[in-house]
Amino acid sequence: SVALAHTQHQQRECTAQWPQRSLLRAAAFGKCFVTQYDPKQFVQMCSHLRVLNAVRDYRVAMPLTYAQMEALTIPVLIDRLVLRRQYCLAIRICDYLKIPSRDGASHILGNWACYKVESAVDDVEVAETIVSKLGDTPGISYTEIATKAKDCGRTELAIRLLDYEPRSADQVPLLMKMKHDELALEKAIESGDTDLVYTVVMHLRDNRELADFLMFIRGYPQAMALFAQYCREQDHQMMIDLYYQDDRSGDSANVHVQDALRCKTQSDMLEKLTRAQTMYTQAQNKFAADMTLEHMKLVQAQQALQERTNKPFIGLSVSDTIFECLVNDHKSAMAERLRKDFKVPDKRFWWLKVRALAETGQWMELENFSKSKKSPIGYEPFVSACLEKGSRVEAMKYIKKMPLEQRPRFYMQCKAWEQAAEDAFATRNEEVLDQIIARSGGGGHSQLHERIHEMKMQLRQRH
């Protein structure tokens, strides 16, 4: 081992007189005789020697001794090589010494690219060369190279290079600095990062005339949508202008409707609604236009009602308005007029009347109404309306008008167990008979339960 150490020491000081090769051979021979020798030292020494030999080559001309190299350290040596533009050698050394690409190859390639940018002539050629060498190597910031290109005044080249920058958060601000707003916006939209899109949009809004800005944005629907979203929250008037400029009559109309409903005075409301109606027609939305006209009629009718009765009507829907009228006066002419004017279907009107009459406890009128003609809604609504108001006696009157099969269920709701049982028996419905027993519960109904059992037996016998 002493021989080995001596040999190595000598190698470091090697000059032409003591060729490295023979020394190395001696060392290699010697190490076989040393037990438990850690080969790492040997390998490292060999690799460092190789590097040294390379830099001592006349083309590079860095005659370093080993001691100097150690003092300098390898990273600094690489930097020196880069400064001397010995890029290829530097990269090869990095690969050979297995220096991680972050510190080694990427850094060197970045420098090389910057150099190329300063020196070469043709934009396209330079860009292609750079890209082919760099490819997708991780850790390269194309933005840096592009900034360098821009600083040299080569904006075309900078844009080409920026195209390869994967990180849009770096790409976009630089494009904006270079005043390539369209490209910046396109790249921002491509990235899907809405914050980035907003950055470009706001920058554009600040730096351009409003009309100009809106025209520009129209070409980019995604950006337009985001800007509209911003306006919706922050700048109501701008949003309306936007919709108008963009011929979005449908959306415009919707906004006018929402504004109208927030109006304090009736005249304001009607004015906004008229505008909305025009826009709906423009957007060829006949349904919405008709409904808007209808609502304006309703508001006017409600205003008249409010003045006459001193009760609040504005803001209620058509159904609610009719309901209130009926509650005040079940023969209300106004309710009839509203029904005709707004083409309220029979079924809905009957429901409203039933509820209104039950609400005010006018049981006589309710009964008369039920007899006035065949109910389009059946008699169940009458029953439930009565039960809701707690009047079982009234409810029972309407159960009789229902078809037989449906009656037991409602008799049960009225707790009229006997009638329920009889009708269930008449329709041979054993399941319902069981339900009656279950729901009528315990004490006080034992007689009833016995009778039901008898009924069930009878039914089974008939089978």
């Binding site: 972050r102 997708d136 991780p138 850790g139 994967p166 990180r167 849009s168 990235s191 899907g192 990062d193 809405t194 914050d195 907003y198 950055t199 706001m202 629907p221 995604q222 949508a225 985001l226 509209a228 979203q229 911003y230 919706r232 929250e233 922050q234 449908g250 919707n254 409707v257 929402q258 409903l261 349904f287 919405a288 409904m291 808007t292 609502h295 309703l298 803001g315 209620l316 829907s317 058509v318 159904s319 609610d320 707004f342 309220v344 279907p345 079924k347 809905r348 429901w351 409203l352 509820r355 809604i377």
Partner: protein, 465 residues
């Protein structure tokens, strides 16, 4: 709420790791702020936060007071550093500015804002416009984009994302999805296979691939624990959320509403008899019972996905088993057997408590489920899904509107009808729309228009297949 989170590690992938990393990040944000701290919360953040960090953790890191974010001035406090935790919403910026303007009169105070999940340029601009940008020591973000709810469930808690993407064409939430998936991949390994259905899924996958290119150094050295990523757009199936849920957990949600894994229930069935007496004596009504529902509760884990009709039998079987196991103590003869029994006792007692709680919940559900209302709705849904006679107005829908039933219920049924019928003929569409507007108010003109834009209501197209 302090609660062990051990259950998070029970799934195939250890979600506990994610929770730990979120907590660590939050603590790091807190420690960056010096002095005694007070936190001002954005209301919508408090619930999701409880799933990540409880109050004791905050207190341990110097947070002594907490306030909700409101307009006007903050109540005065002696804390040195006021931290605002807020979503990047412009409306919140105004409230923050109000708070700061008042409190900044005390020169010793420092202010910081942490945006959750992301700091946006618009908000920074707004703070500048409002004149308080200069008062802020730290303006940063806390990346709480995805929150662990359960051992197999993570959520971003962005309730407005459907509206934003489909109505307003604002795809910010998709960006958050992509970013949260990158976070997951950093912890659990790069997912090799990405599959999706729908335009939004495509956008997310494109963004993920882009993000991978942008930061290749993030290639994690972790072996991928997840093999496949499957992304599904909500719009691929709009009908299912409109139908009534019929599982145990689904019904609890339909009737009472589950939010951030917990539900508030009416207290009557849960009080013991002494509590009832005490309440009757003092005249105070009991507050609602808050129940936490996740897989930490073993009983709930078994019940949650069962159809409600299977819940009763399972609960009674469990009850019998617990009772018989409790009775075993009479048979224990040797000291060792007794000792074994005593060791099992806490588990048995908690099982018994769980069975009793869930039985009460099941009873609450039963009352609603067997009501005429619910049964009618269910029958209507089944008829519609069976596509029987769906070209006409459905009688139940008509009746519900006439009775002025809650509008959400009516709208859900109409959407089911529309989708089952593959669109409405103009006459039917106009009929339903008029009925809604005339019953519930003119402002629903815009509501219905929104539904059409989003694809929940549509006309029958002229092509016949």
């Amino acid at each position: 709420m302090s609660q062990s989170s051990g259950f998070l590690s029970n799934g195939r992938v250890d979600i506990g790791l994610l929770r730990q990393s979120l907590r660590a990040e939050f603590i790091e944000c807190l420690t960056r702020c010096d002095g005694s701290k007070a936190i001002v919360w954005d209301d919508k953040l408090t619930s999701p936060f409880t799933l990540v960090a409880e109050y004791t953790l905050l207190k341990a890191h110097g947070v002594d007071k907490m306030y909700p974010l409101r307009h006007g001035a903050l109540p005065s406090c002696e804390m040195q550093h006021i931290i605002f935790l807020s979503r990047p919403k412009l409306a919140n910026m105004e409230m923050i500015a109000d708070n700061i303007r008042e409190a900044a009169k005390d020169r010793l105070k420092e202010f910081s804002v942490f945006f959750v999940p992301r700091k946006t340029m618009l908000c920074e601009r707004k703070l500048e416009e409002l004149g308080v940008y200069g008062n802020l020591t730290h303006i940063d973000e806390y990346n709480l984009d995805i929150i662990p709810f359960d051992s197999d469930l993570l959520s971003l808690e962005q309730p407005l994302s459907f509206r934003e993407c489909y109505l307003e064409q604002d795809y910010t939430s998709l960006f958050y999805v992509a970013r949260s998936l990158m976070t997951i991949q950093a912890l659990y390994g790069t997912i090799p296979s990405l599959v999706g259905k729908g335009p939004c899924s495509k956008q997310v996958i494109d963004m993920i691939l882009r993000m991978r290119r942008e930061s290749p150094s993030q290639k994690s050295s972790v072996m991928p624990q997840i093999d496949n990523l499957i992304l599904l757009d909500r719009s691929a199936d709009l009908m299912t959320p409109m139908l009534s849920q019929l599982t145990y957990e689904g019904l609890v949600d339909e009737i009472f509403g589950i939010s951030n894994c917990s539900v508030r229930l009416p207290p009557e069935k849960f009080l013991t008899s002494e509590q009832e007496e005490k309440n009757a004596a003092s005249g105070i009504a009991a507050g609602p019972k808050v129940l936490v529902l996740n897989s930490a509760d073993e009983m709930f884990g078994e019940l949650r996905d069962l159809n409600y009709q299977a819940v009763g039998p399972l609960l009674s079987r469990k009850a019998k088993r617990v009772t018989s196991q409790m009775e075993e103590r009479h048979e224990a003869k040797t000291v060792r057997q007794l000792k074994q029994f005593v060791n099992r006792l806490p588990h048995l007692q908690s099982m018994r408590q769980a069975v009793s709680t869930h039985t009460s919940v099941a009873e609450l559900i039963k009352e609603r489920v067997f009501s005429d209302d619910f049964m009618n709705t269910l029958r209507a849904e089944q008829e519609l899904c069976g596509c029987v006679d769906t070209d006409r107005v459905h009688p139940l829908i008509e009746t519900l509107i006439a009775k002025k039933a809650p509008i959400l219920k009516v709208l859900r049924l109409i959407c089911v009808h529309c989708m089952a019928n593959n669109g409405f003929k103009p006459k039917l569409m106009d009929f339903y729309r008029r009925e809604i507007i005339q019953t519930y108010g003119f402002h629903h003109l815009v509501t219905l228009d929104t539904f059409e834009k989003v694809g929940l209501l549509f006309n029958k197209s002229s092509t016949v297949y």
